[in-house]
Point group: C2
Chain length 199, copies 2
């Protein structure tokens, strides 16, 4: 094991889900194609230098505002609040939302020492207070932390009297009742809709 | 998705076992800690520049000879032939081999277009012919390609009359007969040893 190889294996373990064995396999693979690996190294360094956060929605951006926040064809009066940029991509892929986003880059998690200030909630509330916002859609995850975060934002928005909605709970499309947990079935039953008029 | 982020996700997929989803997760994680990521990028570039192959055993090395080939306390007359540097580490961890290695950096695999020349077998044979080698231990994997590679090297060494051995087959320590395949059980039976005298 050469010093540079050891250092490479150590540093690779900072990646999510990469332990010593995987890091070694990655390092060995990297040295098989030095050109591609060299490119990867430079790409990482350049990406770190180029990518920052949108000053309005906190999403990754290479300029002061991200592509969605600077897109005039979108409805800037509706904000969809999500936890991460990956969540943003999921909502975009659904192709049924034309408003803008607010990316928390995390969720309230006292156990990890993450409070509302760490995920930019004060700035979100300020935007809601100073801009003409007609609806805030809370699309944080349905985990304990995601629910707490959604609840906290709802409470903060109450004095501003801005309509605040939570995305629907229920059976995933393609899901089977047999494999759903009791809580999901309960929520699916509670959120049932009358189909008599529409179908 | 910013251009640099997209490029980073593309390049990360060159790593083994990393598809689009994992690459995205890695990229998102990287941007959370820019200092560490920057270091990782530089480490990769530096490693590519610094690491080469030992001129004697083909293992990774930062100088012309690797640490084992330049270690005078080791027995340079016995060569253990393995497929990869990871295999070398496995043998070293067993702490029962004090000779030197020859790292093929692959195995004969006609389906992938890898022949004996691609894995340095001619150089190995030349070293056996010109140096005082008392034994060649073939420790390639027990896969089809590993066995073919071991057999090929054995045939090449025959004219030189150098003793050539293959590592033993059998039940792994801690293994259970119930879960071994028939071939392994057969080999374990064939390689049984008389314990009456030694135990």
């Amino acid at each position: 094991m050469t010093p540079h190889l050891q250092k490479l294996i150590d540093k690779l373990q900072f990646l999510p889900g990469v332990g010593p064995k995987t890091a070694m396999r990655m390092a060995m693979n990297m040295l098989k194609d030095k050109d591609l690996t060299n490119e990867l190294g430079h790409t990482i360094v350049e990406a770190v230098a180029a990518i920052n956060h949108c000053e309005q929605c906190r999403n990754f951006s290479e300029g002061p505002k991200c592509s969605i926040c600077s897109d005039n064809t979108r409805d800037h009066n509706i904000i969809c609040v999500i936890e991460t940029p990956s969540d943003l991509m999921s909502v975009e892929e659904s192709m049924c939302f034309t408003g803008r986003y607010y990316v928390l880059m995390g969720r309230i998690s006292p156990i990890d020492g993450i409070g509302p200030e760490d995920i930019g909630i004060p700035q979100l509330i300020e935007q809601c207070a100073t801009q003409h916002i007609t609806e805030v859609i809370l699309a944080t995850n349905s985990t304990v932390e995601g629910e707490v975060t959604a609840q906290y934002i709802t409470n903060q928005l109450k004095p501003l009297k801005i309509p605040c909605s939570r995305i629907g709970y229920g059976m995933p499309i393609g899901g089977e009742l047999e494999y759903l947990d009791g809580n999901t079935v309960k929520q699916a039953l509670l959120s049932r809709k009358n189909w008599a008029n529409t179908h």
